[in-house]
Symmetry: C2
Subunit: 130 residues, 2 copies
C-alpha cells in the first residue's frame, strides 16, 4: 500500500488519485449528512433490500452521489444509519428529485418508524481504493 | 460514469474495481463501527487536527484500514462521528495497537468528554471512485 492507493477527502478538499500522484481540488459545497432511520421490525428485511437497490442505482446513475454507506446497529438491527456524501448541494437536490429516490421513498414509506437527517461537516474523510 | 467507476461494498462482499470489470470477494469478518465522540468545546480545533492527522497516517500505513470518515455535526460541532471500516477483526485489533493510534488516544484523552462505539453491520456500502 502506498500513497497512490489512498483516497483522502479533507474538509472542503477532495484528494483523489487512482493511478498517479495525489491531486487536490477545492469543493466548497460538498454536502454531507447522516440519516438516522428506525425501521419497523417486521419490515426490516424488505427495507434492507430496498435501500441496497436504491444505493446501487444512485451510485450508478448519479455523477454527484459520491458515498452512500447504509449500516444496521449490531445490537439494535432496526436502527439504520446512512452516511451520505454528495458532490455539492445541487447534486443533493438533484438526488432528491430522481426517479429512483422517489421510488425508494414510496416503497419504504410504511417501513420507516422515524427519520432524522443530521447535516455534518467533514473533518477528514479517508478511504482506501484497492 | 459507468460500472468500472463504482466501489460497491455489500454485506460481507466487497466489489472493488478501479480500471477493469467489477470483481467480488467474500469478506466474512469485515469490521465496521461508528464512533460517537463528544469533544470539549475549548479543545475542538485541536481535536480536529489530531484526528485528521491520525486518519491520514492510519490510511497510509495500515493495509487493513479501509475507511475512516470523521465528521462534525453542523448544528452541534462538538458532536463528532467517525465511520470506520476495517478489513477484518484482526485489522481492527492491529489498529488499536498501532503507535499512531496510541499517540492519538494519548493526545486527545483530555479533549474527549464522552465516547460511544457502535458496532454496525453493513447493508450496502456504496462509494464512487473517480
Amino acid at each position: 500500500v502506498d500513497a497512490k492507493h489512498l483516497l483522502l477527502f479533507g474538509a472542503s478538499v477532495i484528494t483523489a488519485s487512482l493511478s498517479g500522484p495525489a491531486t487536490a481540488e477545492t469543493t466548497q459545497e460538498q454536502y454531507v449528512q447522516v440519516a438516522e432511520i428506525e425501521i419497523f421490525p417486521a419490515q426490516l428485511d424488505q427495507y434492507k433490500a430496498a435501500v441496497a437497490e436504491h444505493i446501487a442505482t444512485a451510485l450508478r446513475v448519479e455523477p454527484g452521489v459520491l458515498v452512500l454507506y447504509a449500516v444496521s446497529d449490531a445490537d439494535h438491527p432496526t436502527d439504520v444509519r446512512v452516511f451520505e456524501v454528495y458532490r455539492d448541494t445541487d447534486a443533493y437536490n438533484s438526488h432528491l428529485q430522481s426517479a429512483h429516490f422517489l421510488k425508494y421513498k414510496t416503497t419504504t414509506d410504511k417501513m420507516v418508524k422515524s427519520l432524522k437527517l443530521v447535516r455534518v461537516v467533514p473533518i477528514m474523510l479517508g478511504a482506501k481504493a484497492k
